[in-house]
């Protein structure tokens, strides 16, 4: 039922309709996955996080509210799970993934600069890094990113500016 609105889907999901849930799943998988990835820096972890988000939605479906935006609800759950998750896995995933990613970068002609840039990015505080990645690598608009974090587009803009500023300092040294 791909052309149903979120609200219709939520109503059906409350009635335990699996097809509606499937549509919701496909509709929000990618944005949630990228959201998780931009913050955890790990695709494995992101897969698990998205799975857990939807598990929670399904388990608590009778408490869903069709008057409220399911989108921001999903991101809120995502946010909570990511925090839990990063506490547990902080050191491990970061190391594994950044090693892996360096590999891929090495094929590019500007490899050296990119590697440096990537390293500098890893050092950025998470809230700047994730916004920066979502905007640059994933091509999300400021408006979309603002929705994910439930902040204003101005805040997103500021964070990207701030990220650029820190990166410049890092890379000029």
């Amino acid at each position: 039922m791909p052309d149903f609105s979120d609200i219709q889907l939520i109503k059906a999901i409350k009635d335990s309709n699996v097809d509606a849930f499937e549509t919701l799943y496909y509709r929000y998988y990618k944005p949630l996955y990228f959201f998780a990835w931009s913050r955890t820096n790990s695709s494995e972890a992101s897969k698990e996080i998205v799975q857990e988000i939807f598990t929670r939605v399904w388990d608590t479906r009778n408490r869903l509210n069709s008057n409220k935006s399911i989108k921001s609800y999903l991101y809120r759950i995502a946010h909570n799970i990511i925090i839990d998750h990063s506490r547990k896995q902080k050191v491990h995933t970061k190391y594994v993934d950044s090693e892996r990613e360096k590999f891929k970068i090495a094929e590019d002609e500007n490899a050296e600069f990119l590697i440096k840039l990537n390293q500098a990015l890893q050092e950025l505080p998470e809230k700047y890094r994730s916004v920066f990645l979502l905007s640059r690598v994933q091509d999300y608009t400021y408006k979309e990113i603002a929705d994910m974090y439930s902040v204003s587009t101005k805040t997103v803009q500021n964070r990207i500016n701030k990220a650029l500023k820190i990166l410049r300092k890092e890379l000029s040294g």
Binding site: A12, F21, Q51, D84, L117, N118
Partner: protein
């Protein structure tokens, strides 16, 4: 940051201003170039591999099938209604309903006897559940409990990681709670289990509880009303100890209670309760001990209270509270 605007386009007026600024010095030029480079190159950073969503959905669906009977509390009739009432393709719906009925009844029986139920509470959540035998459990923030939906004929067994208060109904079968490192056996009683980081603490409110380390059958410790004991790592349980009050159980009313609790544990508890991040800047703070009860305080007030009573300072930066030894004196 005028430079970033360069990329998204500038009003003529601002453009002029930028050019002036660039002309002012070479340093400005270099900065501008670096920023542009960062901006352009960042485009080439590796994007994450996109997982096969179909595979992921299949996993999700497996989960749903296994848990279909749990949360919905829906009769099959209710399901039929949902199908008929909602489905746009009517003809299919009827066929589906019949299949769902058969599959549903089959798997319902199957899962009733076999499947495990798992309840995980995130931070800042507390909730009460009941088991199929009528016993109840009140689960604290950041805790997980796992159990068979239908207990077996001679034993009721659950697995706990975190903190929970159990009120067990007597029905002839023993009730066993397993934690990472301990095993707790009871008959009919109410008691609190705290189990985190390979430490398990028991406080009995009514009845009798038997506690042993998971690794060894002996020694066992039998606790009665108003007694507590704990198992650390693989050590034997400590001797029963009388408590003067049940203040520790305050968490069920949303209070946070510390009794000679190390600051390290205090921080962990507050993180779970408020869903926040707290760091201790210095190891010497880990074992400072705190006795306090917080009832409905905001996070900030709680932190302030701790700082005052332990004579330490705090900072709030990037959404993290950092506690550090006081600089005065």
């Amino acid at each position: 940051m005028i430079r970033r605007k360069l990329i998204t386009g500038l009003l003529p007026k601002k453009k002029q201003k930028l050019e002036q600024w660039l002309a002012a010095s070479d340093e400005h030029h270099r900065q501008e170039q670096l920023i542009s480079q960062i901006w352009d190159e960042s485009k080439k950073l590796p994007a994450p591999p996109i997982p096969n969503i179909d595979d992921q959905w299949r996993r999700m669906k497996d989960y749903i099938l296994q848990h279909n009977t749990a949360a919905g509390k829906q009769s099959i009739l209710g399901k039929m209604k949902a199908f008929f009432g909602y489905q746009p393709s009517y003809r299919l719906a009827i066929g589906f309903t019949i299949i769902v009925l058969f599959v549903g009844i089959g798997s319902w029986y199957f899962l009733q006897t076999l499947s495990m139920e798992k309840i995980t509470l995130a931070n800042a959540q507390r909730s009460e559940f009941s088991f199929s035998d009528g016993s109840t459990v009140f689960l604290n923030s950041g805790s997980m409990i796992k159990f068979k939906r239908n207990f077996s004929d001679n034993e009721r067994k659950v697995y706990l990681d975190g903190e929970a208060f159990f009120d067990i109904v007597t029905d002839g079968r023993t009730f066993v709670i397993e934690t990472q490192n301990a095993s707790i056996t009871v008959v009919g009683t109410a008691f609190n289990v705290w189990s985190r980081n390979e430490e398990t603490r028991i406080l009995v409110k009514t009845g009798t509880v038997e506690l042993k380390a998971k690794t060894a059958q002996e020694p066992k410790v039998v606790l009665i009303r108003g007694q507590q004991s704990h198992v650390s790592l693989k050590h034997a349980p400590t001797a029963p100890e009388e408590v003067t009050d049940f203040a520790v159980l305050g968490w069920m009313q949303g209070k946070i209670v510390f009794e000679n609790t190390s600051l390290k544990e205090v921080a962990a508890e507050l993180e779970r309760y408020y869903d926040t991040t707290i760091r201790l800047s210095d190891r010497q703070l880990y074992n400072r001990s705190l006795t306090a009860t917080f009832d409905g305080l905001s996070l900030e007030d709680a932190i302030k209270a701790i700082c005052i009573s332990l004579n330490i300072d705090y900072q709030f930066k990037h959404n993290v509270y950092i506690l550090y030894p006081s600089k005065s004196r």
